[in-house]
């Protein structure tokens, strides 16, 4: 009888220990991606280079495909200017066809401003760029197509979900000699062009969304500045006149931080 009682207690505690059915599914063990050694080495070199830059600013020309309700595919463009000062300052401003937005992270909060509509919102964020961006993406579904390049652990973020990758050869982006790398994931294919020099910065980044009939996101990095003079004021948000603060909706569903399939 005592044996039965012990079994009963065991089952009871098993129930307490087991996660609820509706909790986030435990991340499955990542499969080792099949990345060609040369492609992996160039990508790692680029990530290490960016990781060791304590501050930098970059300008990029971005194009993004959009499918209209009629089914027609068109392309919008925008200019992006981003500044990073590790470990806790980040700013990105984009001006383009469809939007005119600003994101400022000051080490405590992330503020989003829509300059066209004059609305802004602020969310509390962890005191470090990686965690802050991750929080924004996970909890509020912020779109950060180029965030993977900013993370300290960029290589892990970029290769998470990669099925295979290969070295496509030497190429030129705006006249700059680059290594051309191509990777595939379940839902997206992505390519990156890394400068073939002692300063291996990314020069072009292209994502093809296989789930959306091949819609593409392209960023061409036009200017890198690795010694910008960024004052604190650049990373401090000041609401424009008559700008109205509005709420932000939480993300609809969670995703495992390092298992992002889609990068946009």
């Amino acid at each position: 009888m005592r044996c039965y009682a012990m079994i009963g207690i065991f089952i009871f505690f098993c129930q307490l220990m087991s996660p609820p059915a509706w909790s986030a599914a435990a991340p499955k063990k990542a499969e080792v991606p099949d990345i060609e050694p040369q492609a992996g080495a160039v990508l790692k070199q680029m990530c290490d280079y960016l990781k060791n830059l304590q501050q930098f600013s970059v300008q990029a020309e971005i194009t993004e495909d959009v499918r209209l309700t009629s089914g027609q595919k068109i392309q919008y463009g925008k200019s992006l200017e981003a500044a990073v000062r590790r470990p806790d300052r980040f700013r990105a401003e984009s001006v383009g066809d469809a939007d005119n937005r600003l994101l400022v992270y000051d080490g405590k909060t992330i503020t989003l401003l829509d300059r066209s509509k004059n609305f802004y919102t602020t969310i509390a964020a962890p005191p470090e760029i990686d965690a802050a961006l991750e929080h924004g993406v996970q909890a509020f579904n912020l779109r950060a197509p180029l965030a993977d390049l900013i993370y300290t652990e960029a290589y892990q973020y970029l290769t998470a979900g990669v099925i295979s990758g290969f070295y496509a050869g030497l190429s030129k982006v705006q006249g700059v000699p680059c290594h051309h790398l191509a990777f595939t994931q379940k839902d997206i294919d992505w390519q990156i062009w890394v400068e073939n020099s002692p300063t291996p910065a990314p020069r072009k980044f292209l994502i093809t969304d296989k789930t959306a009939q091949g819609l593409q996101f392209t960023a061409v990095f036009t200017k890198w500045d690795t010694s910008p003079q960024s004052a604190d004021a650049r990373f401090t948000f000041v609401a424009p006149e008559k700008a109205e603060k509005i709420d932000i909706l939480p993300a609809a569903a969670p995703a495992s931080p390092k298992k992002k399939e889609k990068k946009r």
Partner: protein, 174 residues
């Protein structure tokens, strides 16, 4: 009846009860029938939730040991958990022994479990649109901007990195 006989009669059922208790708890936990954890803090239910409150207009909020959830009287629903995870829809949510289940008066539902919280507003959450209907006009109500088109009110909110317009009931009637 002798005194020791009485003691024996009392002791036997007590011993049976002690032996049967783990089975009883296990079966009730398995069946999802046990509303309150024997360990106290691991779960709460609507009636016994610490920090649970029902608003005058039917809104409901509940705080669990590791998170909190709230359902508004109309369509708003918010949740705060240690990681700010939010779940919509009921497909992956079921009432169980380690969770709190809260049902709002208009169909909203909230759950708080030991590892997070979940909410579902009426009709699965308020609808929102990325562009306002043609002819929508801005109105200022209580210092906030709303838009109204064909009698439907919208409030601007951020969803992801973009501003969208969430359908709300006439804020002036609240």
């Amino acid at each position: 009846m002798r005194r020791e006989d009485t003691a024996t009669q009392i002791a036997r059922p007590k011993a049976r009860l002690i032996k049967a208790l783990p089975w009883f708890l296990s079966l009730t936990m398995l069946a999802g029938l046990l509303p309150v954890s024997p360990l106290g803090s691991m779960l709460i239910n609507e009636a016994e939730a610490r920090g649970a409150a029902r608003g005058p207009r039917g809104g409901m909020a509940v705080a669990g040991p590791r998170g909190a959830a709230a359902v508004g009287p109309r369509s708003g629903a918010v949740v705060a958990t240690p990681r700010n995870y939010v779940y919509h829809g009921s497909a992956s949510v079921t009432a169980g022994p380690r969770r709190t289940y809260v049902e709002g008066p208009r169909g909203g539902e909230a759950y708080v479990g030991p590892r997070g919280a979940a909410v579902k507003g009426p009709r699965g959450g308020a609808a929102w649109v990325t562009t306002l209907p043609v002819g929508a006009r801005a109105v200022a109500i209580a210092g906030a901007t709303y838009y109204v088109a064909s009698g439907v009110y919208y409030r601007p909110v951020y969803y992801g990195s973009a501003v969208v317009y969430q359908e709300v009931e006439n804020p002036q009637e609240e």
